[in-house]
């Protein structure tokens, strides 16, 4: 089920028990992760979760209070930021205002004193990669947001780093440009084969671009997995909630069997699902989750092996989809259902009885 990343599988970055404290505040709390070579890895979480702190530790702008970081098998403790095999695309892009585009991109190469037109060739290549080949002479203050982002990208790529760090690179762009850049960044990463680490608070961005995602809350990594796994099999309510809507149903644990767990709920009855990693049994209660789009409206005489019945109590129209709020007898919380409008879900009257079908595979057990 997990998508096989295009990476070679060698560990590029090894983050081991890293803690960073700022006075009384613990920004990162014993974080460990292994990031593979050639991987597109995302750090996803709400603001203040420590994802940017972790990125700055990797870049060398900050040092961990405890723990170690190794990049390409080399310990980074004594290596200052300017000698690390990483380059960064800053959130504000940090384009040098007193230089033109080509000078910005050539900035890091100047120190290397490349001879024989090599510098010029590499600058042109990098500008070509981000489709800015024609703008070399343009001044930094004459660029649009999207162009500045491309210059920042080219300036980092031209250094041929082992790891490219991206600090919310798309957050300053408008929606349409952002979606376009997501695709472009993904293509670019595949073309150059460099390990990309993306910091973002936008779950769709992380899901669309990454090979793997680390979801962070309060300075800890809650889960590391491929986008599909993390969306379909979140380990906790917090992760499930952060990655889109999820119906939470209180459940009792009635049986455990190594890799599986058996839950008893009102409405969905007895459900046996795979035991998620990090699932800790506290007492006899747990939570069962199902994504709103995995519940399907049953029309007229349709039947399904797995169905539950209830009453529509509210309806929200969103153009191509409709959100239905369905009350199920015995459930504390009504279920949220997302249905496409091609069969007329937007015309279901509020108050009418409704039957919903679901796939037991879509049910996921979470610790409370």
């Amino acid at each position: 089920m997990p998508e096989t990343p295009r990476s070679s599988g060698e560990t590029m970055i090894d983050i081991a028990n890293v803690t960073r404290r700022f006075g009384p505040i613990t920004a990162l709390d014993t974080v460990s992760a292994k990031i593979r070579e050639g991987e597109f890895f995302s750090l996803l979480g709400p603001s203040g979760c420590g994802k940017t702190t972790l990125l700055r530790l990797l870049a060398g702008f900050d040092q961990p209070t405890e723990g170690t970081i190794a990049i390409g098998g080399q310990a980074m403790a004594d290596i200052p930021a300017n000698r690390r095999p990483t380059n960064m695309v800053f959130q504000s892009y940090a384009i040098f205002p007193h230089m033109n585009v080509a000078e910005n991109v050539a900035y890091g190469l100047k120190r290397l004193r490349l001879g024989g037109g090599e510098e010029k060739r590499r600058v042109e290549e990098a500008l070509g990669q981000v489709q800015l080949g024609h703008l070399g002479k343009r001044r930094a203050n004459e660029l649009s947001g999207g162009q500045r982002q491309r210059v920042a990208l080219a300036r980092a790529l031209v250094m041929r780093p082992k790891v490219l760090l991206l600090d919310e690179p798309l957050s300053a762009l408008d929606k349409k440009l952002r979606e376009q850049m997501q695709v472009e960044l993904r293509h670019l990463q595949k073309a150059v084969g460099i390990t990309f680490i993306l910091v973002t608070h936008d779950q769709y961005e992380a899901l669309a671009m990454s090979d793997r995602i680390a979801v962070m809350f309060d300075g800890r990594i809650a889960q590391i997995a491929a986008p599909k796994d993390i969306y379909q099999r979140p380990v906790s309510r917090q992760v499930a909630d952060f990655l889109g809507g999820m119906n939470f149903i209180a459940a009792d644990i009635v049986g455990e069997d190594g890799s599986e767990v058996c839950l008893e709920t009102v409405g969905f009855g007895r459900v046996t699902t795979e035991r998620p990693p990090g699932f800790v049994v506290k007492g006899r209660s747990a939570t069962l989750g199902i994504r709103p789009e995995r519940l399907r409206v049953l029309w007229d005489d349709d039947t399904s092996e797995h169905e539950i019945a209830g009453t529509v109590v509210d309806r929200h129209y969103f153009g191509e989809i409709t959100h239905l709020i369905v009350e199920i007898p015995g459930l504390q919380q009504p279920l949220s259902v997302i249905e496409t409008n091609d069969f007329g879900a937007d015309d279901i009257p509020v108050g009418s009885p409704i039957r919903l079908a679901y796939d037991p595979e879509a049910l996921v057990a979470m610790g409370d």
Partner: protein, 305 residues
């Protein structure tokens, strides 16, 4: 979609009749600055016009002959005494302004980069010498630099010299030292402001691209704070050329500057037209020197990066 299409479209200025012009931002801007503009016109431009006009006239004992002449400029430019005074004034003001900027830069840099929560306290402390009058501060330097002054006592006490150095006070150097001290704050402030405006992320970006502390200072911090340095140099250079109090008090005969000569022409010598011609000449020469300085500094910055 290509990158070119992302280019922002420049806002088109709406073309309209005269009413549109009156309601335009331009008209509003002009209206807003008009009080200051009038003030400048009366108190700055008008006196300059008076001086310039006088410089083309001739003093005939008690009255002024108002026929156009260039005789005053001929005197101002060819008379060795005025030429020497002008050259010395330029030397002093150039030395003072460059030295002040050099001293002020590290102070401003420290406050801006390491001042943290105490930036305003540091700036406040720097202004403390200004709580005493200018004359008193100049007098203080007389005490420090004098024959039996603090500096000579210290030099002798340390065994560096066996008898007092008499060249300290009443010399060009005394003028330079006093002026540097007097103008330091005026140089610290513009440099501080321009350093404050340097986006710290840019310095991080330079580090990220491989620059050590020295290189990123020369390639990012210094060029971006150059407007402040240029401002500081101009702020110090232009008034110091015209200073005549400091040379009178600590300069002796060797430290006399062009402004002392101008003062003499407007005062005791009673030759306003010659004084005016000397003033205009000084103004033009200082402007040229200031312009040359700006161009030179910009060129240097370009070379470094």
């Amino acid at each position: 979609m290509t990158a070119a299409s992302e280019a922002s479209v420049a806002a088109e200025t709406p073309s309209g009749g005269r009413h549109a012009l009156l309601r335009s931002d331009r008209a509003k801007g002009l209206a807003l600055i008009s009080p200051t503009f009038v003030y400048t016109l009366i108190f700055l431009l008008a006196p300059i016009v008076v001086v310039v006009v006088h410089s083309f006239w001739t003093q005939t004992y008690l009255t002024i002959d108002r026929t156009f002449t260039l005789e005053n400029y001929k005197t101002a430019l060819t008379e060795p005494i005025y030429r020497d005074l002008l050259v010395r004034s330029l030397y002093i003001s150039l030395t003072v302004s460059v030295a002040t900027a050099l001293f002020a830069y590290p102070i401003a840099y420290y406050i801006s980069f390491y001042g943290a929560q105490r930036k305003s306290l540091w700036l406040f402390l720097i202004t403390i010498p200004f709580w005493t009058g200018y004359l008193l501060r100049v007098m203080a330097w007389k005490v420090i630099l004098g024959y039996n002054g603090v500096l000579n006592e210290a030099l002798m006490g340390l065994g560096i010299t066996s008898q007092p150095v008499s060249e300290l006070l009443y010399s060009t150097n005394a003028v330079i030292i006093t002026l540097i001290h007097a103008w330091a704050v005026f140089a610290v402030l513009p440099i501080f402001v321009s350093l404050e405006k340097v986006d710290r992320t840019l310095i991080e970006a330079a580090t990220d691209l491989g620059d050590g502390a020295v290189r990123r200072f020369l390639r990012i911090t210094l060029p971006l704070s150059m407007p402040g340095v240029i401002g500081a140099i101009l702020i110090v250079m232009i008034p110091t050329v015209g200073d005549y109090v400091t040379p009178k008090l600590v300069g002796g005969t060797e430290g006399v500057m062009i402004a002392n000569a101008i003062e003499a022409q407007f005062g005791r010598a009673q030759n306003w037209p010659l004084g005016a011609a000397l003033s205009v000449t000084t103004m033009i020469v200082v402007s040229l020197m200031a312009g040359a300085c700006v161009l030179l500094l910009r060129g240097l910055v370009r070379l470094v990066r």
